[in-house]
Structures are given as structure tokens and as C-alpha cells.
């Protein structure tokens, strides 16, 4: 196909698409990463439990098992290269009955079959020693020392930024309506911003993988959204929990867990309820109630008054039950990733390597770029610095001396840096994910007016043009009545 503009187009800039883009940026390729949202990582990647799973859940031999364990092993290096916060703190599955104890045994042997190292069964007593607030009902636990927690937003935008710095083109606010076909061959995508032609098209569109496949006549695979609702507790609750705790899993889900987040909050959830609408990100009174009840079963003393936010994530549950990663023979030029539900976040770096191998095998010429830089530096994080570092930063740029988010101690300097990073934070939500602004206990009440002013100044637009998440999500509508002088 001689007139292709791009070697590769990746549809979907979630954590999977972003890591694929990064891996492809090592090579002499023209790559386009596109997403319908106003920022990268705005799909399932922004609403999950953020656990780097050890890998004992999935059936041995499945792709989920394979990529989970392989992905997990890559986290220290990937997060160091990309300057992403990650803590290999270990995770626990807690048993509260005799049947649960049998489940723990199953999980442990499955884990060993999957190649998970260090798994250890411990007594209920020992578990309560490690977690003083744990339910009295605990009868034992499975400890997985390789499990951890990560900043899921950063895992995505850092990889995407690194890809962009290495030459990948990024098109946001770009919705793919269908795949372009020439004969049987997929030759690109049609979008709200015109057509883009490519040698290879990769579907990494999360919940919408099946919808896009259907536009190329590929039926069969169906993705059903399964809702998971969460609560976030204030950092003041952090002392009530020490560890990442799962209950024993059920056939449909890993259950309602309680976990610290990498930023020091506590996360409760998720529920697991099938829904029809792939855009249904609403929380429900019933779901939130279920979340709270489930969490209190593990840690009865959690204080629900410290709740600062609730949210919903949608699992992209595929009809095959496993990750679908394939190059359908009947549609050359197409690579599909579908059903990338949990442990997709953990698996994403390993999936990306595998995709590169698949493309190579399928005949894409991959020539290394010597100028490829694997590392990426995040914007400075004032609140995490020592006083001496803070002083030095303010001396360099006084804007780091002005705090604009009081709960998370985010400075004007950080906001400005996020506006000028390789993938500029164009929306309030994008800024929030880059800087943590507005994520504390006041939820943006204090910073919003200041942020509007700073973003408008940095982008040289009116505050009327700043949105929360693109589209019609304007934050303010008009000027107040002017008083003529």
C-alpha cells in the first residue's frame, strides 16, 4: 500500500495504546496515536483499582496469566524510566471462612503455576498482626510480595509523553467512526477530523474494540461493560489501613477490596454489575452502599465520613474471557486488542512488547532509532520535596512559591509546567491527573478560580474556553454583567 501516511495508527490512548506507542517509538516508524477524549488515559485507565497484580488470579496458560506476570516483572524498570510512582508493597487476599481457606490454597497453586514468586500462606492471627484493624473473622491470608500499587494516570500519560518526545504524533479529540478497507485490507481510519491512512491499524480502544471491529465486518467478539463503583477516603484515613487487602474472589470478580493508593488515600471497591451502556459512568446509591458494606467487612473501623469522592470504572469484559490479542487473517493490516480487563494495567507494558513482536513477525520492518530516549521526567512535585529542594526550586522560579491547591500543596509552578509538558494538560481533569490539583478533601473548591486564571494565561485563551474534560464541559459560561464606568 504505497500511499499510507503512517506506518502505524493506534486507536485509543489508554494505558495499552500508550505503551504500544512508546515501544514503537524506538523504531524508524511514523506512528499516530489517537483518542476521542481530550486527554490520554481518559477511559478505563483513569478509573480502576491501580493494583499491580502479582498474577495468581488468572487461569494458567491464559494470556491474562502470561502478560500479568510478565508485566508485573517490568514495573520497577518501566516506572523508573518514566518517573511514575510505584510501590511494590505486596498484596494480601484475606480468608474469612473455611471455604475461603481452600480458595487461598487454589490461588497459591494457580499462582505458582503462573510463575508468581514468593507467595506465602499466613495464619489469621499473623494477618491481624500485620493489619491491626482487620476483621476478627479473618482465618488466614495469601501474601503476594510482588504485588504493588501504582499511579495509573501517570503510567499512561508518562508512556504517551515519552512516545511523543520520541516522535509519535498524538491526535486527541479524534473519534474513529470506522476502519478503512481496501478489499480485505485495513488501510486506516475515518474520523471526525478526516481520514488517516496507515500500513497497520491497532485497535486499543478498550470498551469499543468490538464496535470498531464490526465496522470492518469482524463479528463474533462482544464486549460487555461491567460496572465497578468506588469510594475514595481522605488521606486522614490512611492510618486506618496498612496493606492492600482483597477478600476471597468470587467467580465474577475479585470482590470489594480496601487499598491504600500511591498518593496516600484509601480506595474502597469495586462492585461488579453488568450494564448495557458503555458510557454509563454514573455511580448509584445501591452500588456505593454495596462498596461500603463490602469494605467494612474487611476493615470494620473505616470511617465513612472521610469520604471525599466516588467514581465508576467499566470493565471491558470480552466474550472469550481472556485478553484477545490477534491479527485476524481475514483483515490484513489490523491488530486487535480486546477484552483487556483486569489485570490490563499490570499487563500493559508486556502486552506492548508482545505487539511489537507480532508486527515484526507480520513483516513490519523495525529499524532502531539510535536517538531514542527511554526516560521521561515528570514535572516537579513540590509537596514531595525536601525543604532544601523546595527552596532551590523557588529560587529558580518564584511561581513554585505560590500554592494554588491547599489540600495537596500544588504550586503555580507545577500548573505552568503541566501546561507546557509534551502532552499539555488542556483540561482541568488533565491537569488534575498531572499535578493532583483538586484531588484532596476540598475537591477543587479552592483552586478552581486560580487554575482558570493560570490556564487561560498560559494558553492565551479566555477562561470561558477552559473545560473540565473537553467537549461541552465548560467550567464557566459568561462574564458577569459589566458595570459601565
Amino acid at each position: 500500500m504505497p500511499d499510507a501516511t503512517y506506518d502505524v495508527i493506534i486507536v485509543g490512548a489508554g494505558v495499552v495504546g500508550a505503551h504500544i506507542a512508546r515501544q514503537l517509538s524506538r523504531y524508524r516508524l511514523r506512528t499516530l496515536l489517537l483518542d476521542k477524549a481530550a486527554d490520554v488515559g481518559d477511559g478505563t485507565t483513569k478509573a480502576n483499582t491501580a493494583i499491580v497484580h502479582a498474577g495468581y488470579d488468572a487461569r494458567p496458560g491464559s494470556k491474562k496469566a502470561l502478560f500479568n506476570v510478565a508485566g508485573n516483572a517490568m514495573f520497577d524498570q518501566v516506572c523508573a524510566e518514566l518517573d511514575v510512582e510505584f510501590d511494590r508493597c505486596g498484596t494480601y487476599v484475606v480468608a474469612t471462612s473455611e471455604t475461603d481457606l481452600a480458595t487461598l490454597q487454589d490461588l497459591a497453586s494457580r499462582g505458582r503455576a503462573n510463575g508468581v514468586t514468593g507467595l506465602e500462606l499466613i495464619s489469621g492471627e499473623e494477618m491481624r498482626r500485620r493489619e491491626p484493624g482487620l476483621t476478627e473473622a479473618a482465618t488466614g491470608a495469601l501474601y503476594a510480595p510482588t504485588g504493588g500499587i501504582v499511579d495509573p494516570f501517570a503510567l499512561c500519560f508518562a508512556a504517551a509523553e515519552n512516545a511523543v518526545s520520541n516522535g509519535v504524533e498524538l491526535a486527541l479529540n479524534t473519534t474513529v467512526s470506522r476502519l478503512l478497507l481496501e478489499g480485505n485490507r485495513v488501510v486506516g481510519v475515518d474520523t471526525n477530523r478526516g481520514m488517516f491512512r496507515s500500513r497497520w491499524t491497532i485497535i486499543a480502544a478498550g470498551l469499543h474494540a468490538d464496535d470498531l471491529m464490526r465496522t470492518a465486518g469482524l463479528e463474533g467478539l462482544v464486549i460487555r461493560p461491567r460496572k465497578g463503583e468506588y469510594f475514595v477516603l481522605d488521606r486522614a484515613a490512611r492510618s486506618q489501613l496498612r496493606n492492600v487487602l482483597f477478600p476471597c474472589p468470587t467467580p465474577v470478580s475479585k470482590g470489594i477490596m480496601v487499598t491504600p493508593t500511591i498518593h496516600g488515600n484509601i480506595l474502597l471497591g469495586p462492585t461488579a454489575n453488568d450494564v448495557d451502556d458503555k458510557e454509563d459512568l454514573g455511580t448509584t446509591a445501591a452500588g456505593l452502599n454495596e462498596t461500603l458494606t463490602g469494605a467494612l467487612k474487611l476493615i470494620p473501623g473505616l470511617d465513612p465520613r472521610l469520604m471525599i469522592r466516588s467514581f465508576t470504572g467499566l470493565r471491558a469484559t470480552g466474550s472469550t474471557g481472556d485478553f484477545e490479542i490477534s491479527t485476524p487473517a481475514e483483515r490484513p493490516g489490523l491488530l486487535v486488542l480486546a477484552g483487556i480487563e483486569s489485570p490490563g494495567l499490570t499487563a500493559s507494558p508486556a502486552i506492548a512488547l508482545h505487539v511489537v513482536d507480532m508486527l515484526r513477525e507480520a513483516g513490519l520492518t523495525l529499524q532502531e532509532r539510535p536517538e531514542y530516549v527511554p526516560t521521561r521526567k515528570g514535572i516537579p512535585r513540590f509537596s514531595l520535596m525536601t525543604t532544601a529542594e523546595q527552596e532551590a526550586l523557588i529560587a529558580q522560579d518564584a511561581r513554585y512559591g505560590r500554592v494554588v491547591c491547599r489540600c495537596e500543596t500544588v504550586t503555580e509552578g507545577e500548573v505552568v509546567a503541566a501546561c507546557h509538558s509534551p502532552i499539555p494538560a488542556r483540561t482541568y481533569d488533565a491537569l488534575k491527573r498531572r499535578t493532583r490539583i483538586g484531588t484532596g478533601r476540598c475537591q477543587g473548591g479552592f483552586d478552581l478560580p486560580l487554575v482558570l486564571e493560570i490556564m487561560a494565561r498560559e494558553y492565551n485563551v479566555s477562561p470561558l474556553e477552559i473545560t473540565q474534560k473537553g467537549g461541552a464541559s465548560a467550567l464557566v459560561f459568561r462574564r458577569t454583567k459589566e458595570v459601565g464606568l
Partner: protein, 423 residues
């Protein structure tokens, strides 16, 4: 890091900080330093452009900024040192304060006495766990107030306001005057949570629908709010199935309560009162950490600024005395306990010895309103020491009971006093 020492350091320049700083100087502290994170002094008053401030302090009906400026002018005239755009990041029990300042970088301040006057903040949506989507267009009333009155932007065109707090009611009127429509003000309780005068002047005068025993049970809309669902509630504040009603709107404003801003107070290790959300203080507004005092909304949320200024003077005076002589009232203390229909009492502790020197004002709120004459009784065991009659009591309106000096003798040897409100 630049290190500064001073007699009295005041954190926050709202009405509480301003009054405390001035009073500290007038009590004899030489070096008084006032820190403010905003570029302007005055705290929340600067965005309260409505009137209703200062009737007691100045005998005049002033706007918030006018009230603030009366104090700011005095602070400048008295030659107090002021650092704005300076945010305090930490405080410890030795009163070592670390702040970041656009002009000075990181600074350390070592005051002889410290007054915490950081004000309060608003409770956001997450704290209520309102189900639904998460579109743009959900703001706290105070954030909207700031956007409209300071920045000059309208955060929406058609509003539903949840909560009948004062800021919400005042914003209902303000937004109406700006040409927006306020479709409803919903209050989960069977009575108002703000002042009666605001109901009349801000809601009724503008024909804004007020629904009591009603709450928002769902937020709808993808990008921006498109509607909210409101429901009636039962006596336990649980939504009643079947009463749901959808109200189209583009903005939901929350006026569901203020929370004292006490991160710094907790860092210093002061004991807190779980009910007020502020530190436990004595009659001089001293916390239990030596040399650390608290004033204004950090102690408990006030409804009238005049009361803030009055209490903050006491804090400033005690801080100055501590700074100049490291003297604090000594001897045993008596605990004040909230009894029947009383939510909390401030101060939480009094020294009988201090009462010998001057009378002590106790502030409290009732739990539930009583629209009939009631007695507010101060009791020592079963004995009523003091009683004051009120025509009615409402949670929105703070009650004050002044302990006269003559009771000092009665308090000697006591450990606990209780206050009760009953018909």
C-alpha cells in the same frame, strides 16, 4: 532558609486574624507578623459583597470588603508586619512554622506565641456521596461566590442549590441578579440551616422555590450537568422511593456545611473537638499546646463576623500576654459539656482563676430548633447556676451565655459544668 523570629505570629488574615493581630499589638506585643496565602488581606470577607456585616462592631450595615477594610486600615496604621502570598505549610509543637512565599521563598518563623486563624472550608460533593455522573457544573456555593464576585464569571445559567446554608441563599439572590435562574433550593432537614433573615431577603423576595425535607439523589449529564434528580426524605433523612423528580439545570451548587480548616492545628498536635472540628480551647482561646492559640472559624464555625472579631481579640490578647511573659492562666480547669439539645460549647475549658479577672462568654449551638421560649441553663451537677431565656432557638444562630465574675467562687473545685436548652 530565611529564619524570622517575632513575638506573635498570626496565620490567616480574615476577620479573626486581623483582630487577633491588632489586639496582640495593643496588648503590648512589639513584633507582630501576619501571614496570608492570598494576595489580599481580609479572608473570605472579600468575596462577600452583600451587606449584613458590622452591625455590632461598627453599628453600621457594611459589606464584607468594607468590614474587612476597616480592620486592614487599622493593621496598616499600627505598622504590623504583613506577608501576603505566603502559605504556611507546617507547624510543630515547638511553634516552628514553615511557610512558602512567592517573594521570600521558603521561610521559617519562630514566634513566641502563635495564633491560628485559617478559617474554614466548604464540604464538597464527595463528602455527601451523591450518586450519578461526574460532569462539569458541580460547585460549592463559596467557589461560585468567588467566581462571580471576584473573578467576574458566571459558573452557569440555571441552578439548583442543595443546602440552605447562608452562602447558598446569598448566592441564590446574587445569581438571580446576574440574570441566572435558580430553579430550586433543596434542604434535607425540615428547617433552614442558615439565618432566617437570608430566607426573607434572598429567597422569598426573589420567589425562589425552597423545598424542605428534600435532597439531591442523582446528578445527570455527561460533559456538563443537564439535570439533577431530587427526592423527598423521611424522618431519618433517607430518600423516599417514588418521590423522585427531575429538575433540568446546568449547575448544582452545594451549600452543605463548613468545616474548620485545621490541618496545621493537627500537625502541631493540639487536641481536637470531634463535634466542632476545631481545637479544644480555654477561655483565652489557648489550645493545649503551650503558646498556640486559635481564633475564628478554625475554632468553630461562626454565623456572624462580629462574633468572630470579638473572640479573636481574646485570642490575640492571650497570645500577647504569653509572648511577653510566657504567662498563662494556671490552676485547675472546669470542663464545659454540651447537655440537652446543645451540640457543642466553646470554649471547652475555663479556669476559675481567669473568671476572677473578667467575665467569660460561652458560645454554643442547639441541635434542633425550638420555635418557642426556652431556657438556656448552666448547671453544676444538678444545680442551675445561671439561666438565660430565649424567644426561640435555631441551629443556625449561635447562642451566647456570659459567665459573670461572681461565679468564680462557685466554680472553684468543680470539674464539670453542663449547658442545657429546654422549654
Amino acid at each position: 532558609m530565611k529564619s524570622i523570629s517575632c513575638d506573635v505570629l498570626v496565620v490567616g488574615s480574615g476577620p479573626a486574624g486581623l483582630a487577633a493581630a491588632l489586639e496582640a499589638r495593643q496588648t503590648g506585643a512589639q513584633e507582630v507578623l501576619l501571614l496570608e496565602r492570598n494576595d489580599e488581606l481580609g479572608g473570605i470577607l472579600q468575596q462577600c459583597i452583600h451587606t449584613g456585616f458590622g452591625l455590632r462592631e461598627f453599628g453600621q450595615d457594611l459589606s464584607g470588603p468594607e468590614y474587612a477594610w476597616r480592620w486592614i486600615d487599622q493593621v496598616h496604621d499600627a505598622g504590623l508586619q504583613v506577608l501576603s502570598e505566603t502559605m504556611v505549610l507546617s507547624v510543630d509543637a515547638t511553634r516552628r512554622v514553615v511557610a512558602t512565599s512567592k517573594a521570600l521563598g521558603m521561610i521559617e518563623i519562630l514566634p513566641r506565641a502563635l495564633v491560628l486563624a485559617m478559617g474554614c472550608r466548604e464540604r464538597p460533593r464527595g463528602a455527601l456521596a451523591i450518586p450519578g455522573t461526574r460532569p462539569a457544573g458541580v460547585y460549592t456555593a463559596g467557589t461560585a461566590q468567588r467566581l462571580v464576585n471576584i473573578d467576574g464569571y458566571m459558573p452557569g445559567n440555571r441552578f439548583v442549590i442543595l443546602g440552605s446554608g447562608d452562602i447558598g441563599m446569598i448566592m441564590a439572590r446574587r445569581l438571580t441578579l446576574e440574570g441566572a435562574e435558580v430553579a430550586a433550593v433543596c434542604e434535607i432537614l425540615p428547617y433552614l440551616s442558615g439565618l432566617r433573615r437570608n430566607l426573607v431577603q434572598c429567597i422569598r423576595d426573589y420567589d425562589i422555590p425552597l423545598h424542605l425535607c428534600t435532597t439531591v439523589t442523582e446528578v445527570r449529564g455527561q460533559d456538563r450537568v443537564t439535570s439533577v434528580v431530587v427526592s423527598g426524605v423521611d424522618a431519618d433523612r433517607r430518600p423516599l422511593p417514588g418521590t423522585e423528580r427531575e429538575i433540568p439545570c446546568d449547575t448544582l451548587l452545594l451549600s452543605v456545611g463548613l468545616v474548620p480548616e485545621n490541618e496545621l492545628t493537627r500537625m502541631a498536635g493540639a487536641s481536637m473537638d470531634a463535634v466542632t472540628g476545631g481545637p479544644r480551647v480555654n477561655e483565652g482561646y489557648a489550645t493545649d499546646i503551650p503558646g498556640i492559640f486559635a481564633a475564628g472559624n478554625v475554632v468553630h464555625v461562626y454565623d456572624l463576623v462580629d462574633d468572630v472579631s470579638q473572640a479573636a481579640r481574646i485570642a490575640g490578647r492571650s497570645a500577647a500576654r504569653y509572648a511577653c511573659s510566657t504567662q498563662a492562666p494556671t490552676g485547675p480547669t472546669v470542663r464545659l459539656v454540651a447537655g440537652e439539645n446543645v451540640r457543642a460549647v466553646v470554649p471547652q475549658l475555663v479556669h476559675p482563676a481567669a473568671l476572677e479577672q473578667e467575665s467569660i462568654a460561652l458560645h454554643m449551638r442547639v441541635r434542633t430548633p425550638i420555635e418557642a421560649p426556652v431556657n438556656l441553663d448552666l448547671r453544676l451537677g444538678e444545680r442551675t447556676l445561671l439561666s438565660r431565656r430565649f424567644r426561640y432557638v435555631r441551629p443556625a444562630e449561635m447562642l451566647t451565655l456570659t459567665l459573670p465574675q461572681r461565679l468564680a467562687g462557685e466554680l472553684a473545685g468543680a470539674t464539670e459544668l453542663s449547658v442545657h436548652v429546654r422549654t
